[in-house]
């Protein structure tokens, strides 16, 4: 890690101005759980850090009106345990609680978490850090160098949304839940404020896997909003991983339902751990919508979500696992209907 300057931004506007002044050599830092980690790994090398974690009011959690509004620097812990979120939107609360250890949840912010970068081991472990040196080619880290995961140890990699250039999984849990809940991202940049539906926030890897977010240079995530919906109550974030806690998803599903008795009126289904971005499955939603939910139908919906999936050398099991995770999640969510 090279020497760098560190300053605390008093306001979002000041942060954006400082970022612009640094001409590309700055990064915003909030919790730092991902950025500082990547700096230690030699993947990120900012010359200037602009601390946005003390910006007044940007940690507000508002639940009174028609929307839930989470300030960009609100801590994952605080959002997860906000009573309205915990009781009426379990999918959001659970996605945060299952995302990281309690220590990391006390550090990481809900805005920063949207920008968490992949856990692909070829991406993380070959960048020239002292832990190991530039051994693994990676298009995300070094555009054009190739993808080592393709044809390699790809057990944790994506089966949906992959390209010839990259199969790295989007690591987040919270963004998956937000995807199911049609959240909106509020940003502030040099050109002023801008809102973007979360569905438009993430980019498929395509030929440019190093470009992961539809975020303009210098834009800062200032808030996330979710329109209130009765679907929040009959919801869950179901996550299967290689151990019972403190691990990234092998496959996960965010499900939120509106039910008429046993019949599904509307369904929102998003997937994590299996795709290159947080992944909404309209196909799975269509299968359960309008029908009484049975375990068989739930599994059929799960399978539909993976109709276009492509397995690699070691990760094809995720296609079946992912389908079953959706099936279980649908049953869990349905049981929570009022």
């Amino acid at each position: 890690m090279r020497a760098l300057s560190y300053t605390v931004a008093p306001s979002a506007e000041a942060a954006v101005a400082r970022f612009a002044a640094a001409q590309g050599s700055a990064r915003y830092i909030a919790g730092g759980t991902n950025l500082y980690d990547l700096m230690k790994l030699g993947i990120e090398h900012p010359a200037h850090l602009i601390d946005v974690s003390r910006i007044d009011g940007m940690d507000a959690i508002e639940t009174d009106g028609d929307i839930l509004r989470f300030g960009g620097r609100a801590l994952m812990t605080d959002v997860a345990y906000t009573p309205v979120v915990r009781d009426q939107y379990p999918v959001l609360s659970e996605s945060l609680l299952k995302a990281a250890s309690q220590q990391l949840r006390n550090m990481a912010t809900v805005g920063g978490n949207l920008l968490q970068r992949t856990r692909c081991m070829y991406f993380r472990n070959g960048a020239g850090s002292t832990s190991m040196v530039g051994v693994y080619p990676c298009n995300k880290r070094e555009p054009g160098s190739g993808c080592s995961a393709i044809g390699g140890l790809d057990r944790t990699h994506a089966v949906l949304g992959t390209s010839e250039a990259c199969t790295a999984v989007a690591p987040g849990d919270w963004p998956v839940a937000l995807m199911a809940m049609d959240a909106t991202i509020e940003m502030l940049g040099p050109e002023g404020p801008r809102n973007l539906p979360i569905a438009e926030f993430y980019r498929l890897p395509g030929d440019t896997p190093h470009r992961e977010f539809n975020l303009h240079p210098g834009e800062l995530v200032t808030a996330i909003t979710v329109r209130k919906t009765p679907a929040g109550r009959a919801s869950t974030y179901h996550k299967i991983r290689d151990r019972e806690s403190y691990a990234f998803a092998l496959a996960s599903a965010a499900v939120a339902l509106e039910m008429d008795g046993a019949t599904v009126r509307t369904a929102r289904i998003a997937l994590g751990g299996v795709a290159t971005t947080p992944w909404r499955s309209r196909a799975a939603e269509a299968i359960v919508t309008g029908s009484p939910l049975t375990p068989e139908l739930a599994l059929r919906a799960g399978r539909a979500a993976f109709a276009d999936a492509r397995g690699g050398q070691h990760n094809a099991f995720k296609i079946e696992l992912g389908a079953r995770v959706i099936a279980d999640a649908l049953i869990i969510a349905a049981e929570r209907r009022a």
Binding site: K40, Q103, N106
Partner: protein, 206 residues
């Protein structure tokens, strides 16, 4: 002290050269005359590196003001700039929990917390938990339940365990296990740790 620092910087200004595989290494400090070196050793001013940032915080109830390399972690501040070595480095990447401390009363991984970020805030480490000779009920519970073996992860476990109870998470064995899962114990003292949290919860919740 200032003198010594500038000296160190000077001695680093060697010319760039490529050392072949058979070549000899380069020693900057060995340029220093012996007497000066001995002197430097005695004085032992801490030379900071990189760009520095001033940090003024409260650590275990005491004010701490220091100028520190802006890249440094809170963990390396505690261990290498203060004599607070109770907090341990197990992974340096937020993957084990051995470095857990409380920042404004909440557990955080000090290895992934920039030292600069504690400015104006309160840090509590394992050394700040007991009140005088009296152990914190959680420390006593760890002894009573032998909730440790090698002891290396123990400070982090205890800092998390205290928060488990004060945050109201010690509601069931599974809730405790889940909350405590950010602290890896390679010796495998998990059964004792669960029992310790349960015991201390009774005392702490009075």
């Amino acid at each position: 002290m200032e003198d010594e620092r500038s000296e160190t910087t000077q001695t680093c200004g060697v010319t760039r050269r490529v050392v072949l595989a058979s070549g000899a290494g380069a020693a900057a400090a060995s340029i220093l005359p012996l007497e000066q070196r001995a002197q430097a050793q005695q004085q032992f001013a801490r030379a900071e590196t990189g760009q520095t940032v001033q940090v003024s915080a409260n650590v275990n109830g005491r004010p701490v003001i220091l100028e520190i390399d802006s890249r440094a972690s809170l963990l390396d501040l505690l261990r290498e700039r203060r004599e607070l070595t109770g907090t341990k480095k197990g992974c340096d990447h937020g993957q084990c929990g051995a470095c857990t401390v409380h920042l404004d009363g909440r557990p955080v991984s000090s290895c992934l917390t920039l030292a600069a970020k504690i400015d104006g805030r309160q840090v509590t480490t394992i050394e700040g938990l007991a009140e005088g000779a009296d152990l914190h009920p959680m420390q006593q519970a760890f002894i009573d339940n032998d909730a440790l073996q090698c002891g290396y992860c123990t400070p982090g476990q205890i800092m998390s365990a205290v928060a488990c109870v004060t945050g109201g998470h010690a509601t069931s064995p599974d809730a405790i296990r889940e909350f405590m899962s950010g602290n890896i114990c390679r010796c495998g003292a998990y059964v004792g740790i669960l029992a310790a949290v349960q015991q201390a919860a009774k005392v702490m919740e009075g």
